[in-house]
């Protein structure tokens, strides 16, 4: 299961069904999609694709079966994330193309 924190509020509270986009924190749009068993709000399809691509890449890079928690920060010019699986932490920096594909990705464990 993914739980997540939107990048800009930075707060520690876990928000499910929070109606701001899981990628860009926008409250425009009305797209709900299930990712890793959890229904998440997205402002548009591009952000939903971005989110799926990010989770898939983190799983490939880490070998984790799931991502428990994902905190995304930054803006459309470049974002970074901290992912957790149990006690393990994985950090990455990434950027997308206009279709929502990852055009750049750099990760580090620690």
């Amino acid at each position: 299961m993914i739980t997540w924190l939107p990048g800009s509020n930075g707060g520690p509270s876990l928000k499910v069904n929070y109606t701001a986009c899981a990628i860009c924190d926008s409250s425009w749009g009305d797209l709900w999609e299930e990712v890793e068993g959890q229904r998440l709000f997205f402002c548009c399809e591009v952000c939903a694709v971005q989110f799926r691509n990010l989770v898939a890449r983190i799983k490939v890079e880490t070998g984790w079966p799931t991502v428990d928690r994902l905190t995304i920060a930054g803006d459309r010019r470049g974002r970074n994330a901290e992912a957790r699986h149990g006690p393990a932490i994985y950090r990455c920096e990434f950027a997308y193309n206009a279709q929502g594909g990852l055009r750049a990705f750099r990760g580090s464990t620690g």
């Binding site: 409250s27 193309n97 206009a98 055009r103």
Partner: protein, 298 residues
């Protein structure tokens, strides 16, 4: 006439109420183009149509300034603001991969550029505009013989100097964002009024305008020091220098023509919207240059 900056749908002159209702309806349908425009230009915070109407009115208000100044300000905010576009950031001291990404995608862009300028020429009645576009076509594509090859030729030579075969450059299909841009620019140039097409195309030349730093840009297109020394190839210097020296007066002149020929009711509003649409396409296209560049890394 007011136009939607995300899809160019037309609304009545100054009818920001209808435009706001349209944007809200498209956003409710999670349309990515409209949501993106709202996120990047108005707010990421959803608001009712009535409130959005006021925000739109303020956003498009020229405040007595020429539309060319408004375009320049918006362009700077978008590409050279506090978080500048990553392509010029990479171009400050470019890697071989960045330059090759530039070459491979930009040869497609320049071929469309020629078509767009030709459409403007064909559709205008104004001799000053025809002369301007003719000069542009010669500089960009025709060239002036051996002493002054076209910008297109200089681009291909830059690619060759970095080890990429000309035939291979020309045979590589564009990335999706480049292809989307080309289709949209072709439609704008052939179907929207020529003065809007002119604003849409020539505003993009502001990217290389070195005087933008005097108007608040946080960055130039590239660090001009690379035009000296051996950091980049001689052919790269020749390509970059051409744009560096040409585009200042060039983009200014085009925007002055836009100013001069968009005096009819609603023409400036339409110019503003069409420019914004083109700027979004250009933003994605510049990212495609970087994306292509990653293929040449390592």
């Amino acid at each position: 006439m007011t136009k939607c900056p995300a899809c160019l749908e037309r609304f009545g002159l100054g009818d920001y109420s209808a435009l706001a209702a349209h944007l809200v309806a498209q956003a409710d349908a999670s349309d990515s183009g409209h949501v993106r425009w709202l996120n990047q230009n108005i707010s990421r915070q959803k608001m009712p149509a009535r409130e959005l109407e006021g925000r739109l009115r303020a956003f498009f208000d020229l405040e007595g300034k020429p539309v060319s100044v408004w375009i320049k300000d918006r362009f700077i905010q978008k590409f050279y603001g506090p978080t500048p576009h990553p392509f010029p950031v990479a171009l400050q001291h470019p890697s071989r991969a960045t330059l090759l990404g530039y070459v491979v995608e930009h040869q497609h862009f320049l071929r469309q550029w020629v078509r767009s300028c030709a459409f403007i020429m064909a559709r205008t009645d104004e001799p000053a505009v025809a002369r301007y576009e003719l000069d542009n076509l010669n500089t960009e594509f025709g060239g002036f013989g051996t002493p002054a090859p076209s910008h297109y030729e200089l681009l291909l030579r830059m690619g060759e100097s970095l080890g990429l075969d000309r035939a291979q450059i020309l045979a590589t299909p564009p990335l999706p964002s480049t292809a989307v841009g080309i289709r949209a620019w072709n439609r704008i140039a052939s179907e929207e009024p020529w003065v809007e097409a002119m604003a849409a195309m020539h505003s993009l030349e502001l990217i290389a305008n070195r005087e933008l730093v005097q108007h608040g840009a946080t960055l130039r297109y590239f660090d001009p020091r690379i035009l000296q020394g051996t950091e980049v190839t001689h052919e790269t210097q020749a390509f970059l220098r051409e744009g560096y020296e040409a585009d200042v007066g060039h983009s200014d002149e085009a925007l002055e023509l836009v100013e001069q020929f968009s005096t009819g009711p609603g023409q400036r509003e339409a110019v503003q919207a069409t420019f914004l649409r083109s700027a979004d396409l250009f933003d994605d296209y510049l990212v495609a240059r970087l994306e292509r560049g990653t293929q040449f890394e390592g």
